[in-house]
Symmetry: C2
Subunit: 386 residues, 2 copies
DNA sequence: TTAAAATGTTCCCGCAGAAAACATATACCC
DNA sequence: GGGTATATGTTTTCTGCGGGAACATTTTAA
């Protein structure tokens, strides 16, 4: 991986790092293999041997254990045309899944996402008023029951909810989801009780970026800034050195409230000139047939990107929702303005891209969060028949 | 550490994680112990046993190996008054050091910093014109020779240079240090040749934050934003989840060029209203006896802090140089303005603090970078007699 | 002086991956 | 079509690491 020491994990020195034992080695290697086939799709044993540097007898043992755990399947090799005994293909079992819930202002959605990232089934209900946590949990229970009947034999690792709002660092408490009207709700508790499954709760933008990083437009890119324009404002998230930016309390990445215009309009957050008041869905709709107005909005977007660049120096700026749409109709202008405003004009342009996963993004991202525990410790996380 | 899975290291899926072997376990445990005594000062074997969770026979073997490597010393226990056989005290050997170099506009400085963080010796020379890379390397060689004679028996792990400018992600190339006039210089090569030692090069603000995190005001705090006001502008750095923010190319954390006033003055970087043009040393000097002007500058600082808070949600905002001084004379105003502007007014205030390490900061921070390799692999990094 | 408690030390065990030997399945060559 | 080279799967044996028990050592307390 060529990881530089400077960015390598340094044990926090407030507490001494835990010691490591031989079973940690086993756990680490099982995790590496499952993670590899999770992200990389089917891989042969021979590829795993080369990539991990482990001995092929060791790979054999590890794959056998993963198969016995019901996490992967070994298939006979496809025809490769290469000389030598064909290597067995290892792929994640698609009957291993996670539940992903997305409660929003106008609808609640639940999906079952397989460990290879495919959405196996989904249920959606439109709602007139924003759902309460109890509404959302009740719907989740019902939808999960239906999906369980639809797909017999499905085993789930847990559930995750993508909530449009601030979620505390504990991955449990929805501190404030203004559009849902949820404040200080322990939604993990509510949902876990309804589903009798382990649950994690997270911010929707974070989970969206996670999905795009795993299977979408930011696949494998280590340093990404994500801006998503939706009806409820601008959601932001960042991946820093391969890790999600969370902040000390869980509120990091709120780029919608970055100050972009010091004499700008009053924002709902109490400040003035926040990105999401200067560049929101209404303004974009209003500017739909006004070239100058669109140019101005594109310039605002470029200023925001330039500001984030000098803070994060990302490899990729990812735009979703109406920001992606704006970028698409003013691609050259945004690129040029970002270059003008860039802190380092002499280096090559930072890549800008639209999201790739569409309507499945939040379900996939939430499921990724739910799978994280299993990927870290394949033998230690139980699967539950749905 | 209670690390949440969401922020846990996820193997990048562009490449499969390397497999782990038993000797990795050994390396990890040696690293944990050396890191613990490095940051935590002298610790008893009994404390190490408790903190790591390892067996005391294992700790015995590990400590013996570290002692044989010449990295730690075991002392007879101090009187504790507790019942039972006294536990041996393990402390890092102070004759294990790193060289730290700081070439600046008006001076070059080199220090030898022991592995326990104490500055053993330093040499400084004032210069009329900014030094060339060759000047700096020649001074480093001469100063290292002198220090070697002054402290016989010193063994060094390598050298690190803190450069006021942009350093590429390779920890070698000074892409642009405007005040030194260095552009595109492979300073690692130059310095390594002069010293015949392994060298890393880094940005000065990054290394300053690293020092404060290791031994100063940000000790052990995982999520920190650092703003340092110096004659050469405002340097910025951030620690995100215990890791230094570096960015894809190494240019992350340049908060001095965050836009703070959309109708502000032209900045040297080509943009307008950057923090370091709105709030620089001259303006602060000019406002020295003008309360209203000081208030305005303090408000600018508060706006910058508020902006960084909604992006990073830090546990601590650390201020150095003239920004620390400004904070000190307008502490209440800054605190109040940050609270007004805070994205989350209902949660407790984010801590703001001044730096603690003073003139040794850069030397200590650079040395920390040089020690990183040794701390990660105590048995694999050779020490060189100076 | 003796007992209790905590820690250091030694020896043996189980588990992890490595390595070598062997078995198997493909392509290539004649 | 048969033999050979090549690559991979499988089995067995070996080495290294940490755990744990038994024993030794050093202190405090009774």
């Amino acid at each position: 991986m060529g990881e530089d020491l400077a960015s390598a994990a340094v044990p926090a020195h407030t507490s001494v790092a835990r010691g490591s034992r031989n079973d940690n080695t086993r756990r680490h290697n099982l995790s590496s293999l499952l993670t590899a086939v999770h992200y990389g799709g089917p891989l042969t044993r021979a590829q795993l041997t080369r990539d991990t540097g482990l001995n092929r007898s060791t790979i054999g043992g590890l794959v056998t254990e993963l198969a016995q755990l019901g996490l992967v399947i070994e298939d006979a090799a496809a025809e490769t045309g290469a000389v030598g005994r064909p290597s067995l293909i290892v792929r994640p079992r698609r009957d291993v899944a996670a539940l992903a819930l997305h409660p929003d202002v106008d609808a609640i959605e639940l999906g079952a996402v397989a460990i290879d990232g495919t959405v196996l089934a989904r249920r959606r209900v439109s709602v007139d008023a924003p759902p309460t946590p109890q509404d959302a949990a009740a719907f989740a229970w019902e939808a999960a029951r239906e999906i369980g009947e639809e797909i017999p034999g499905l085993r789930v690792v847990g559930a995750a909810a993508a909530v449009p709002g601030l979620v505390a660092i504990d991955s449990a408490t929805v501190v404030d989801a203004p559009h849902l009207g949820w404040r200080g709700v322990d939604f993990r508790e509510t949902l876990a009780e309804a589903l009798t499954l382990p649950v994690v709760v997270g911010n929707d933008a974070n989970m969206g970026l996670r999905a795009e990083w795993s299977f979408g437009a930011a696949r494998g890119v280590d340093t990404v800034v994500f801006l998503n324009g939706s009806a409820s404002g601008i959601g932001g998230a960042a991946l820093v050195g391969g890790r999600m930016l969370r902040g000390g309390r869980g509120y990091g990445g709120e780029f919608g409230h970055m100050m972009i215009r010091s004499d700008g309009e009053r924002c709902s957050c109490g400040r003035s000139g926040c990105l999401e008041t200067e560049l929101n869905a209404e303004r974009l709709d209003a500017a739909a047939h006004d070239d100058a107005a669109l140019d101005a909005l594109a310039s605002t977007l470029a200023a925001a990107i330039a500001n984030l660049e000098c803070a994060f120096d990302p490899d990729l700026v990812l735009l979703g929702g109406y920001l992606g749409a704006l970028y698409d109709v003013r691609r050259d202008l945004v690129t040029a303005r970002v270059r003008d405003l860039a802190f380092r004009p002499d280096v090559e342009d930072v890549a800008i891209a639209r999201t790739a996963l569409g309507g499945n993004r939040l379900l996939i991202g939430a499921a990724e969060r739910a799978f994280a525990a299993l990927l870290q410790d394949p033998a230690g996380v139980p699967l539950v028949a749905l």
